[in-house]
């Protein structure tokens, strides 16, 4: 793929997020303009407190920007009301959080179909079956989250994010709570979702190894984009992190 033919799935334009005012003001995001391309796996890295989660939340319609705009699929989120935002999240966005991803009273299968069911949408059954078999969950579908391991729970979460065929998936440290083997499993799966299923994924992570699964890495520091890297490897990332003082 050449840069000219890539389509933008989500982007921000001069996005700023300020907490507090006057002297106490904290710029969680400071004039950030980034683009996330369809069919790509993008990682966001940066020191703690650099604004990674804030950026993700603002693009995903979970939080509002103080100024600038966040655009998904051509729509400016700042113009949307709660109901429309909720529908946008349900239909166009998939989420994977670090922990507590699943509704404890629902089975794995129900959790996977949750966004679809909320929208009274049957979904594409063929696709859903494909997702389920890709994450190797076929024999765990009737179990509740308390009966699943941490890795299995995260796999269900990823499957849920994929099930509704969203425009873009946001994952905030999806492997942060997992051991390296299980983490690798999840990352491999996400990679496959991009390569085989054509998904778009944006992932926040601290881990250079995790980041190396991505096509591109965006580095944040103090609320600003400070660097970018394509076709990363763990070593390259580590080196760069040293230079920007991670």
């Amino acid at each position: 793929m050449t840069p000219q033919t890539r389509t933008v799935a989500a982007s921000t334009l001069s996005a700023s997020k300020v907490y507090g005012s006057g002297d106490d003001a904290v710029y969680a995001l400071n004039d950030v303009s980034v683009e996330f391309f369809a069919g790509e796996f993008t990682a966001i890295m940066g020191p703690s407190g650099s604004g990674k989660s804030t950026l993700m939340h603002c693009i995903a319609g979970l939080d509002e920007l103080s100024s600038g705009s966040a655009i998904i699929d051509g729509t400016d989120l700042s113009t949307m009301k709660d109901k429309a935002l909720t529908e946008l999240r349900r239909e166009k966005i998939g989420f994977v959080f670090q922990s507590f991803n699943l509704v404890p009273t629902l089975t794995a299968d129900e959790n996977i179909r949750l966004p679809l069911m909320l929208g009274n949408d049957k979904g594409n059954e063929e696709w859903i079956q494909k997702v389920i078999s890709t994450v190797h969950l076929n024999d765990r579908l009737t179990h509740r989250p308390s009966e699943l391991s941490g890795g299995q729970q995260q796999r269900v979460a990823v499957a849920r994010a994929l099930a509704s065929e969203p425009r873009i998936i946001f994952a905030d440290e999806p492997t942060g709570n997992l051991d390296s083997t299980t983490g690798a499993e999840i990352l491999t799966f996400m990679r496959k979702a991009v390569d085989d299923l054509g998904q778009t994924i944006v992932m926040v992570t601290h881990d250079p190894v995790a980041a190396s699964y991505a096509d591109r890495i965006i580095f944040l520091a103090d609320g600003k984009v400070v660097n970018e890297m394509t076709e990363p490897t763990a070593e390259k990332v580590l080196d760069l992190m040293k230079t920007i003082g991670h």
């Binding site: 979970l62 109901k83 529908e87 239909e91 509704v103 009273t105 949750l114 069911m117 909320l118």
Partner: protein, 845 residues
Amino acid sequence: MFRIAIKGILGRKARLILTSLAVILGTSFLAGTSVFSDTLTRTFDNLFSDVFKNVDAYVRSSQVIEADFGQEERQRIPLSLVDIVKTVPGVKNAVPDIQAFARIIGKDGKPIGSDGQGPPTFGTIGVEFEGALWTIADGEFPVGPTQVALDEASAKAGKYVLGDTVKVVAQSGSREFTLVGIASYGDVRSPGGATFALFDPATAADFLTKPGFIDAVLITGDGSVSDAKLAKAIQAALPTTDKTETLTGAEITLETQDQIGSALDFFGILLKTFSFIALGVGCFVIYNVFSISAAQRQRENALLRAIGASRSQVTRAMLIESLAVGVFGSMIGLVAGIGLSKGLSALLRALNIDIPSGGLVVTTSTVQQTVFVGTIVTVLSAILPALRAGKVPPLAAMRATALEVSEPGRKRLIGGLISIALGLAVIVMVIVGASNSYLGFGILLVFIGTIVLGPIIARPVALFLGRPAARFRGITGVMARQNSARNPKRTSRTASPVLIGVALVTAVTALAASIKGQIDDVFTQQFKGDYAISTNNRGFGGLSPSLATDIAQLPLVEGATGIGLVTAKLDGKGQYLTSIAPETIEGIWNIGLIDAAYSDLATDSIFISEKIAKKKSFTEGSTISAIFADGQSRTLTVSGIYINNEIGDYILNKGLIASTSVVTFDIGVYIKSRPGSDQKEVLSSLTAAVKKYGQGDLLTKQQYIDKQSGQVNQLLGLIYGLLMLSVIISIVGIIITLLLSVFERQRELALLRAVGMTRSQVRTTVRWESVITSLLGAVMGIVLGIGLGWVIVFALKDQGLTSFKLPVTPTIVIMIMSFIVGLFAAIYPAWRATRVNILDSLNTN
């Protein structure tokens, strides 16, 4: 640890308020009813001590017959005794007194004052007398046979002014008088909602009771001798043949207060019973709130344990918190209760029952009882959760979730089953023949067992009840169903107050339905007439006996008969007796005579019911001695035994009563129209006849039967009203639990919102969870209540209740109501759930 407890309380104000709410509600009802009945008692105490405040001596007949329910019928004394009393040395003044039935008819032709159950309508003597409480506010005292004075409230209600013609109905019929005075009673317009018509002594005796006879003589002394000596001297001066007794003013005051006191006591006990039921229901809510908050603080407590707090310190911290909540809640409850009793008084005033403005009576015992009971109940409800909090292993601090998920154990199953089995065994014993007094114990055991089993039953029943929601409401329904089943202990504790309320309502309804069904059957079978004229003034006046004879003369009427009531001593014991006219009752009432006919009832014989015959082993030909209110005695032969005792257990011939000097009246007139006559014409001719007398309600057969069962409805209404207290607490219980659950599930809600649940879907989920919980309580309560009702009906079979009727419509109504209660209780918690901040909740661990 004390400081930690206090910090814990202050740190979570919302929790404090929620917990206190249950305590406040429970105690406010307790305090409110207590203040209200104290106020009522003192009001009436004052009222009746005032009546005889300036009376030094009181003469009345010593002839009295006491019947059931503490009712008594005292004989009257000659008016001429007043003049004898006046001659006794030491007497300053003496006036006659009468208190009898009199109904004032308003200008619009409608009787003033409430019918039947309400405050009485009196006719009395109004004369200038320093010992009397009646004063004339406007005009003058009535003199002569055509003048009347009315109490202020009645005059106003009837729209009468001085000089108007007032129609009054009394024992002897109806008469018209000229209004010459407006009287006031102490400082009230109308004492306790009663109405009063005042006459001069001769008119009162003639019109209200019996010419020349009065109830009592009121006497003031000149102060030369003590009241006791005065009373003695008066008694000595009176002819012994008149059978009188003389009391001092203090004695008669005390006697009146005692009578009123016991009548009010019953009311007070009723109020108190239901407020304690409400408090018991409140206990569940308090217990539930403490349990939930203990579960939510599991990690916090585990952390305390991990850093070195002992078990008992953790438990103590929680008990201290409950103590604070108990004291705080009951104090507010006390204040709220005082407000509540003000509301009750205002309600009575709106119903035109005037309570003298003496202010509310808040006794120290009310204050102590409320705060003490409220605090004890709160601390007791917190003991189990506090002990559980102490048992939290320090390791729990490391666990991810703080959910209260322990599975209901075997112990619970066994304990619950044993309690139910024991309870059922006791009930079976009662059914087989043990005393009915064990019934309550058996029922209590079943209730306890059911509530103990609650958490085990809750899950499957909630899942079952949630099925329609899951089917028709999609994922929100599925989640509501799962939420109501995810924590069976909590759900069942929340549903328990609903269960208790619904069980009591259902049982009372089932009982009432059975009684009503019985009344319907019985009256349809036994009453063969087409119309009835009934009066509500049982035991205190009634229909003139000539009404029945007048109506029998009407061309379209085939027959009419009057039935009366008298009191007499039978074999030494006071009883109500029914008097009938054997020559006219045939074909109108079928009392199921066994081998006898109405014509067998002579003026020296008596019919008795089969029940009494069995109980006292009377047979036809047995003799019974009867002493009537005027002191005359007769020996009566049992000349018939009958099965249907709806009109009474003893039946006499009216001719017998006529041969004594007892004044009698009819409580009902029963009419059969000529076959084939136009019912419209019959009705209009009857209406005209009844109107002439100005008393009694003309009813068709069906209306009459409905009216009989209608009395059950009145009692039912009162009990429903009182059970409302428990229902309100149940609703608050559901609200509190839902709110706590919403707080607890913030992360889950945030997640759902993040992946696309709209606010209205969040509301739907909470709403259906609430409905399922409420229905869970209702279903279990209905099952229990129907069982309970059946058992009570069975136990009452000695009282003549033969068949149990399932209250189908009320049961459906209760289900619908529970559904609505569920919806209603969810409003605020559901709104709170939509306000969950997605980011904050997702970020907090």
